[in-house]
Each structure stands twice: as structure tokens, then as C-alpha cells.
């Protein structure tokens, strides 16, 4: 417990020194260098808290991505220039995608890079450059209660880390053999599970008809070859479009509504000026 608290304290003091001053005063360079050094020490201490995986190339990448993500997040939060913040956030996203890849989520890694780094960050940069064409603003040099924020945030980190490290694997921990992703539950088994429940929820109706369609389709060739579980994309697509079919539809609808809403919000409109005669009558 003591090392965790010590590391969190180091990180908190480092982050406080790196954050902008409450009144925007310029700190001496030596202080900021000390803050950077303390934060780097805290990140190294955090790396010591990780359970070392067996030595392999993946482990090297895991530690690299972890350190990059933590450092990038710290620098994103503390940087005074919003453009730098957005770029550090892009680095955090890239590191997170690397971690996704190491956890066997290839599609998610690619999707995160495309959606976040490719679309969201670019939109952020557009907005930053639209809004801040005249250089660093006053509010980027000031912070709201940096000391208290650092205290709260690092107390939360210490609490979370302590709680996570205090958990031991339960008796029902999966063995190594059960670690590989489960093969996609076959549609037939899933359909039987659906039929058990009498409630005619809409997604069950949809799934029934989809499965009826699916029975007419030929077996996917990847599966038919040796009966092995389907490759990543096939399995993910299978579970997305059977178990989570309604969620996919809802997500599509939400995307569409958000698109319409964003267009409606951002379109410039003439300001509403009440007709003076009507305003007088109302008064």
C-alpha cells in the first residue's frame, strides 16, 4: 500500500507542477523540469506495479504502449497549447489501439485508429484552429484549482490501483485451455435459447427470421475447412449481427440522429429579435 501511495504522491506533485498555475504565473523552468521528472518517476513506478508477463516480443510492445499511453495522457492534460493536447491525445489513442491489438481485438484497434485518430482528432483540430487563431488564450494559461484537482485525481488513481491489485483470481478462474476466445455460439443453439423464452420481444422475432434466412446460406468456408472456430472478423460479425442485432440498429439510428442534430445546432441562424410592436403588446 505504501509504494502505491508514494507513487501517487509523486505523480500528483509532478502533475501539479506541470499544470498551468492558478493565476497563470509562469513557473521557473527548473520547477517544470522537476515536475516532469517526478511525473516520469511516477510513471516508472506505475510500470513496476504491472504484473510482468512472460518475456516475449509482445511484452516489450505491451510495456512500450503502456508507458506511451500514460505519458501521453499526462502531457495531454497539462499542455498549454490545445493543438498539442489534441496531438498527445492522438498518441494516447494510438497506444491504446496497440494495447487492443495485443489483447486480440484487431478490428477494434483498426476501428479506433480510423474513428478517433482519423476523424475525431481532425475535427478537434479544425475547431481549435477556427476558435483560436490568435495564439494562446488567457484561459489556457490558467487552471481551476490545480492542486485540489491533482489531489483528487491521484487519490482516485491510488484507490483504483490498490483495489485492482488487491483482487486475487477467484476459484473459477479460467485455465489456459479456456483462454482462447470461445467459438461463436452456433446459431441453432442460440435459436434454441431464444425459443425457451416465451416473451415475443421484437429482437427475438427478428432473430428468428434472420436465422431462417441463415439456414439457407451455405456454411462459411473458413469454418467448413476443418471445423475450427471462425476467424476474428467472422466471429465478431456473427456475434454483432445475431446477439446484438437490435443494438446495432439502435446505434445506427443514434448516429443518424446525432448527424441531424449536429447539422441543426451548428448551422448559423439569424438571431431572434422580437418584433418591437409585439414585444410592447406582450409587455
Amino acid at each position: 500500500m505504501i509504494p502505491i501511495l508514494l507513487t501517487a504522491l509523486l505523480g500528483g506533485v509532478g502533475a501539479y507542477l506541470l499544470l498551468p498555475h492558478r493565476l497563470g504565473k509562469a513557473r521557473p523552468r527548473a520547477w517544470r523540469a522537476a515536475g516532469g521528472a517526478l511525473a516520469a518517476l511516477a510513471v516508472l513506478g506505475f510500470a513496476l506495479a504491472l504484473t510482468p508477463p512472460p518475456v516475449s516480443l509482445a511484452t516489450v510492445f505491451f510495456y512500450g504502449f503502456t508507458l506511451l499511453a500514460a505519458l501521453g495522457a499526462l502531457l495531454m492534460v497539462t499542455s498549454r497549447n490545445p493543438v498539442y493536447s489534441a496531438l498527445w491525445f492522438a498518441m494516447v489513442v494510438l497506444s491504446t489501439s496497440g494495447l487492443f491489438l495485443l489483447a486480440g481485438a484487431q478490428f477494434l484497434a483498426a476501428g479506433t485508429i480510423i474513428v478517433y485518430a482519423g476523424a475525431i482528432i481532425v475535427t478537434f483540430l479544425f475547431v481549435i484552429m477556427l476558435a483560436q487563431s490568435e495564439g494562446n488564450a488567457l484561459y489556457d494559461r490558467l487552471a481551476r484549482a490545480p492542486g485540489r484537482s491533482a489531489l483528487v485525481a491521484f487519490a482516485m488513481i491510488a484507490g483504483l490501483v490498490g483495489a485492482i491489485l488487491g483482487v486475487s483470481p477467484g476459484p473459477a478462474a479460467p485455465s489456459d485451455a479456456a483462454d482462447a476466445p470461445e467459438p461463436l455460439p452456433r446459431m441453432g443453439a442460440w435459436l434454441a435459447r431464444v425459443d425457451e423464452v416465451r416473451t415475443p420481444a421484437p429482437h427475438r422475432v427478428v432473430a428468428r427470421s434472420v436465422s431462417a434466412q441463415d439456414r439457407m446460406l451455405p456454411e462459411p468456408s473458413e469454418r467448413a475447412a476443418n471445423g475450427s472456430p471462425p476467424p476474428h472478423m467472422a466471429g465478431l460479425g456473427g456475434t454483432l449481427y445475431t446477439d446484438h442485432l437490435v443494438s446495432v440498429e439502435v446505434a445506427g439510428a443514434v448516429l443518424f440522429v446525432a448527424l441531424v442534430g449536429a447539422a441543426a445546432i451548428a448551422t448559423p441562424r439569424p438571431p431572434v429579435r422580437p418584433d418591437p410592436a409585439r414585444a410592447a403588446a406582450l409587455r
Binding site: 502533475a15 493565476l23 497563470g24 506505475f46 504491472l50 504484473t51 512472460p54 518475456v55 516475449s56 511484452t59 505491451f62 503502456t66 499511453a69 495522457a73 499526462l74 495531454m76 492534460v77 490545445p82 491525445f89 494516447v92 489513442v93 491504446t96 489483447a103 481485438a105 477494434l108 476501428g111 479506433t112 478537434f124 475547431v127 483560436q132 488567457l138 484561459y139 489556457d140 494559461r141 490558467l142 481551476r144 490545480p146 484537482s149 485525481a153 491521484f154 482516485m156 488513481i157 483504483l160 490501483v161 485492482i164 483482487v167 483470481p169 479460467p174 476466445p181 465478431l236 456475434t239 446484438h244 443494438s247 440522429v257 446525432a258 448527424l259 442534430g261 449536429a262 445546432i265 451548428a266
Partner: protein
């Protein structure tokens, strides 16, 4: 004849670090409890740092980026749990989070643009009036803010070295008055 490209990889895999990989590949591939703990720890750190940014920064865009950082931490946690339990649920949930984050970014940036048009500033403390009723105003002492120290001397821009021969071009045709 140059050696084939994969010869370099064969030589590389003879290094002790990589040579250990095939022997332990069965265990290295396994995503055990230690690895789950690692993913949870990284997710917790990203979450906490995002909260630090959300609490302490005043720029609307940076606050929003911090919220996205917290979402990244959550996504790491979900993917770690999904991999540990060997099912697709974590990945699927994260895909939905990604979708909603994209919607959220579109709406929030539209809102930020509208707010910026109203007050010509991205400062969140200018919008204290729409807080809950009865709360005392947060004192943000702008008037005590230290002035920006201007760098003395004229503003300079980098010079590009001209390269090649200057092509013959008409003398500033855009200054000619159009009749």
C-alpha cells in the same frame, strides 16, 4: 544474389529475446489474470488522468478531450475483461462506445462552435450562469492573472531558402487594375 528478405527475420529470431517466444508462445498467448490486472491498471490510470484534465482545465475543448480520455480507459478495461473471459462482449461493448463517442464528438463540437460564436471564447467559466440555482459563483480571478511576457524584438518567421532558378513570371499581375 541478395539473400531473401526473410533471412533477416530468421537472423533476428535467433536473438535470445525472440528465441524465447516460440517456447513460451502457449503461455505468452494466454491472457491470464496478471494480464487482466495490467489492462485494468492502465485503464484506471487513463481514467484518473482524464478526470484530472476535466477538473482542472478551463478550455472547453480540452475538457472534452479529457472526457474522451476517460472513455479510452473504460474501453481498455472492457477489452481486457472480454479477452480474459474469452468472449466477444468486451469488444462489442467497446464498438458501441466508439459509436456513441463519435455521435458525442459531433454534437459537442457543434455546441462548442455555437458557444464560441456567442462569447468569442472557449472559457468554461464564462458559462457559470447556467449552473444549478443557488450555487455561489466560482471565483476565477482573471484580473489577478499574470500578464503574458511578450518576447522582445520584432516577430520573425522562418525563411525558406529559394531553390532552383526563379521562373520568368509577369510582374505582379494581381496589382493591375481591372477595367
Amino acid at each position: 544474389m541478395p539473400p531473401p528478405a526473410h533471412a533477416a527475420f530468421d537472423a533476428l529470431s535467433a536473438l535470445p529475446l525472440l528465441a524465447a517466444a516460440p517456447a513460451t508462445s502457449a503461455t505468452a498467448d494466454a491472457f491470464g489474470f496478471g494480464m487482466l490486472t495490467n489492462y485494468l491498471l492502465v485503464g484506471a490510470v487513463l481514467m484518473g488522468l482524464g478526470m484530472l484534465g476535466f477538473l482542472s482545465r478551463r478550455n472547453l475543448i480540452i475538457m472534452f478531450l479529457s472526457a474522451e480520455l476517460m472513455l479510452q480507459g473504460t474501453a481498455l478495461t472492457l477489452v481486457g475483461f472480454g479477452r480474459y473471459h474469452g468472449n466477444w462482449t468486451g469488444i462489442v461493448l467497446t464498438i458501441f462506445i466508439l459509436t456513441i463517442a463519435a455521435c458525442e464528438a459531433a454534437l459537442a463540437l457543434a455546441l462548442v462552435l455555437v458557444l464560441f460564436k456567442r462569447k468569442s471564447s472557449l472559457d468554461v467559466t464564462l458559462w457559470q450562469a447556467i449552473r444549478e440555482e443557488g450555487l455561489p459563483p466560482a471565483r476565477e480571478r482573471e484580473e489577478e492573472a499574470a500578464p503574458v511576457e511578450a518576447v522582445p524584438g520584432p516577430e520573425t518567421y522562418p525563411h525558406l531558402t529559394p531553390s532552383g532558378v526563379e521562373p520568368p513570371h509577369p510582374r505582379q499581375p494581381w496589382e493591375r487594375r481591372r477595367d
